[in-house]
Structures are given as C-alpha cells and as structure tokens.
C-alpha cells in the first residue's frame, strides 16, 4: 500500500505540487536512477541522447522489453539533444521523408501526456519564407506535395506573412525581399533538454538502466555476430545492440570495422539575450539557410549552414555564425539591437543522401540509427519508436524500411536536396 502511494506521488500532477507546498517540496525524488551496468541485457542502446532514450522507452512501453541498458559516454542529452535549435516540423517534399517526420510529429502532439513530463511542445507554426517567384513556385510545389499526403500546409501571401511576423522587413528594398511563405501550423518548437529528461524518467520507471559515464570502446563478437559491447565500465552482453550516437556514428561503427555513408560535420547555433515576445512562430529561409525562433525564456535562437568540412571538434568557424546572424538581421532588422548571449556547435552525422539511416548493420546483432544530418531533433519520438520496433522484432517498421543502410549500394537514395553523395554541399 505504501509502495502504491509512493508511486502515485511520484507522478507529476497538480496534486503532487499541492502536497509539496505543504511539505516544503522535500518529497521529490530523483527523476531516474544512476544505474550500475548489469552483465547482460536483452537490448543495449549505445547513446543516451533523445533518440537513444526514446528507443529504450518504447522498447519497454510498447514491446515489453525491460532488460534494456542505455550507455552514455558523458551525461544524457549532452550531445546534439542539447545543442539543436529545437524546431519540430514535417514539411518535406518526398513521400518517404514526409511519412517519417509526420510519424514523429503526431507523437510530439501527445508526448507530454504520454511521458507525464512537460516537454513544452509549442505548435506555434513553422514558416518557410520565399524570396523570389522561383522560391514561391518551389514552396507551392512542396505545399501541394504535403497536402496530397494529408499534411497541413498553407501558402501565404506577403500580406499574410507580414501579419503573422510583423517585424519582418517586407519592403521592396530589403536585402532579401519576401514574396510570401509556406506555413505548417502544426510545427513548432519543444524544450530540448526536457525531451531527454522526460524519456529518461519514463524509461527508468519501466526498469530501463540508464548508465552515464560509460563509453563503448569495442564490440564483443561471436564470429560475425555482435554479442555485446566493451565499455569503460566492463563488458556487457546484449541480445541486440543498437548504435544511436548521431554525430559519432562513424567513430562507433569504425570500432566494428564498418565504413558508413556518413561524414561528421560541425553545425553552429546562437542565442541572444532574453527579450519580451517579438516573434511567435518559427521562421526559416531555405534559400538563405537561416532559421530562428524565440525561446520561452525570451532569447532568439537561430542557426545557419554547417561548416562545409568534416570535424568532430564541437566548435566552428566564426564566418558561418556571421552569415547566419547577418541574414537574420536582414530579415528582422530589430534583431540588430540584441546582444548575442552564447554560440555553440554540435557534430552532425551528414549522410550521403541527406536522409537518416535506421536499419540493420552488415554484422548480425548490430543495428544503426544515425545519419540525421541537421534534422534529428524533430524526429526524436518517431525515431525512437521506429528503432525500438526494429530492435524488438528484428524487422523494420514500414515507415523506417526505406531508410535502410543498403539503399546506397542499391541506388535507392532519398535525396531531398538532389545534391548527390557530397555531404558538404547540403
């Protein structure tokens, strides 16, 4: 009875807040245990980012597989999960990508309830700007492709864009004149750290071991089959092993002697000091490659191009920030008054067709989830659920099936940008 009562109190609710008000908020426990590695698990997930934690959660919640470990080299959510610009959308052009990101977007809309954790998902609309007649043709085509798949997309006139984002420079003399836009109203932003913490807490409650400060240094092998991992905290045997370390996929696959269609590149982002609400939607320009939104704390968060050369350094060249900030100021001149609070960089898995990889590796028992380029955050719940399906059943979910590793050798690449096998050109 006591146990049931304590479980009920560990749920986050208005009632537990009220109880805390009486007891001085001393009843809150840790959100997840600091687990010690066990000798063996049914599934070992390498990588404690949002995708890895989501994978573990869905393995336990939907497939009943609770002997699961998430191994994280540093601390959970400390890689790209905490370094992105928190944008969530599914406004893609190609059907495979539409299905994948829409699968995820649907999950975002119920995620806070499902996890009993406020992910601060805010469907404030994701707006693509057009800067020429040709841009508007492309946006119209993309909108049509989305609507044909049942996704929401609205083409906007310059007047409608100006009403939605009044601070945009809509003048004819603007550096990049605005000819209109395409909005996906169900897109928006979420609190990136909360996504990792929410999945960690929910997975831990179902018995998943989250093991931090545990770096994978190699794989246990039985002939070709991968039977577990070598780590800085000892060997761990696993029924199935899932790599989920986007940014470092090349390095971890290299430990198994596998070359991937992935190259690691630096992507930077910036945030300004916090100000009162000035932009209440996500504004993106694919022509310029600049995107920004205002966080709930008030900072303008933005980003631009990657650095165009391979790097694992988690720091980037100032010129890329300068370009992105100059573009943002040209679009919203009022940004010129803001001071930059912080800039940072993450290491992204740039795949050779711009699309992610979710599938089995050439070695039995080993699986890969990676290659998310600079669009992984929005896929977090969907990616985790699809990867859990693969790790639980050994079969790809139909939504994930086109994203297998074999597609590159078989000429089935899913290349939204049509850029070919040149990651630095995306």
């Amino acid at each position: 009875m006591v146990r049931i009562a304590s479980l009920a109190w560990s749920r986050y609710s208005a009632l537990s807040l009220l109880r805390g008000a009486i007891g001085g908020h001393r009843h809150w426990g840790r959100a997840w245990r600091a687990a010690e590695p066990a000798p063996s698990y049914d599934v070992v997930v390498i990588g404690g980012g949002g995708h890895g934690l989501a994978t573990a959660y869905y393995l336990a919640a939907e497939h009943g597989i609770r002997r699961v470990a998430v191994l994280e080299r540093g601390w959970i959510g400390g890689g790209n999960t905490g370094r992105n610009t928190t944008i969530v959308r599914s406004n893609y052009r190609q059907p495979e990508l539409q299905r994948l990101f829409e699968y995820s977007l649907k999950l975002w809309h119920g995620l806070s309830d499902e996890l009993n954790y406020n992910t601060m998902f805010s469907p404030r609309g994701a707006l693509f700007l057009g800067h020429s007649d040709a841009d508007m043709m492309r946006l119209a085509e993309r909108g049509d492709a989305m609507r044909a798949m049942g996704l929401d997309a609205d083409l906007m006139s310059p007047d409608e864009v100006a009403r939605l984002v009044p601070l945009l420079d809509m003048s004819k003399e603007a550096r990049w004149p605005i000819f209109g836009g395409l909005i996906q109203r169900r897109g928006g932003t979420a609190r990136h750290d909360a996504v990792a913490w929410g999945f960690a807490r929910a997975a831990d409650a179902l018995g998943v071991d989250i093991i931090e400060n545990c770096e994978v240094t190699g794989f246990l092998r039985d002939a070709d089959r991968v039977t577990g991992v070598r780590t800085t905290r000892g060997d761990i045997v696993a029924g199935r092993t899932g790599i989920c370390v986007a940014g470092n996929s090349g390095h971890v696959a290299g430990l198994a002697g596998i070359r991937l269609p992935i190259e690691s590149h630096t992507l930077q982002a910036w945030v300004t000091e916090a100000v009162k609400p000035m932009i209440d939607t996500v504004v993106m320009s694919q022509t310029l490659h600049c995107y920004f939104s205002q966080s709930d704390k008030g900072g303008i968060v933005g980003g631009g191009d990657p650095d165009f050369f391979p790097s694992y350094a988690q720091r980037g060249a100032p010129i890329r920030l300068e370009e992105s900030i100059a573009q943002a100021i040209a679009l919203v001149p009022a940004f010129a008054r803001l001071r930059i609070l912080r800039t940072w960089a993450g290491v992204t898995d740039m795949s050779f067709d711009g699309s992610p990889i979710i599938g089995e590796m050439p070695l039995p028992g080993l699986y890969l989830n990676g290659g998310w380029c600079y669009g992984g955050f929005k896929a977090t719940p969907g990616s985790g659920r699809l990867y859990a399906h693969l790790l639980a059943t050994g079969e790809s979910h139909p939504v994930a099936a086109p994203f297998d590793l074999a597609r590159f050798a078989q000429g089935r690449t899913i290349d939204e940008a049509g850029a070919g096998p040149m990651p630095q050109n995306r």
Partner: protein, 81 residues
C-alpha cells in the same frame, strides 16, 4: 580558427579553402562496381587523422593534399597535387 598552409600563399584562413573529399574516396577508372560504390558512398570518418583533398578556391586555386586531425584540426602534412 584553422590556418591552412598553402604551398604557394603560406598560411591562410580556412574560409579561403574548400574541402573536396578524402583521398581514398576518389573513384579510379579501373575500380569495379563494389569498390566504386564504397569510394563514392562510404567514409572511414575517423575521430582522428584523415588524408583530405582541399582546394584554395578563394586564393591561388591550388589543389592540396592535407593530413588533418578532425578533432584538434592540427594539420601535420600538406602537399600540392
């Protein structure tokens, strides 16, 4: 900031250069389909040193072969191609 020592122009900022690809990913005329696929579509992508092809596009235009560490950005060897 990364300085790249161009054999003609001396050390110049990285922004003047364009990364092309790794040396081992250049497809050769006599490569079979499996090797060609591997060169086009896969990389060792090491968290360490790799031999890369760059060009000094916003400078003298020289093609370069660099041995570069992808974590520290230290360049241990440069050669004009």
């Amino acid at each position: 900031m990364m300085l790249i020592p161009c054999p003609h122009c001396g050390p110049r900022v990285q922004e003047e250069f364009a990364y092309e690809r790794t040396l081992d990913s250049v497809v050769r005329l006599d490569d079979g389909p499996v090797t060609a696929m591997s060169r086009l579509y896969t990389r060792a992508n090491p968290r360490g040193e790799e031999i890369e092809i760059w060009s000094h596009v916003h400078g003298c235009g020289q093609w370069l072969r660099l041995r570069r560490d992808r974590v520290t950005h230290a360049i241990s060897d440069v050669e004009a191609i």
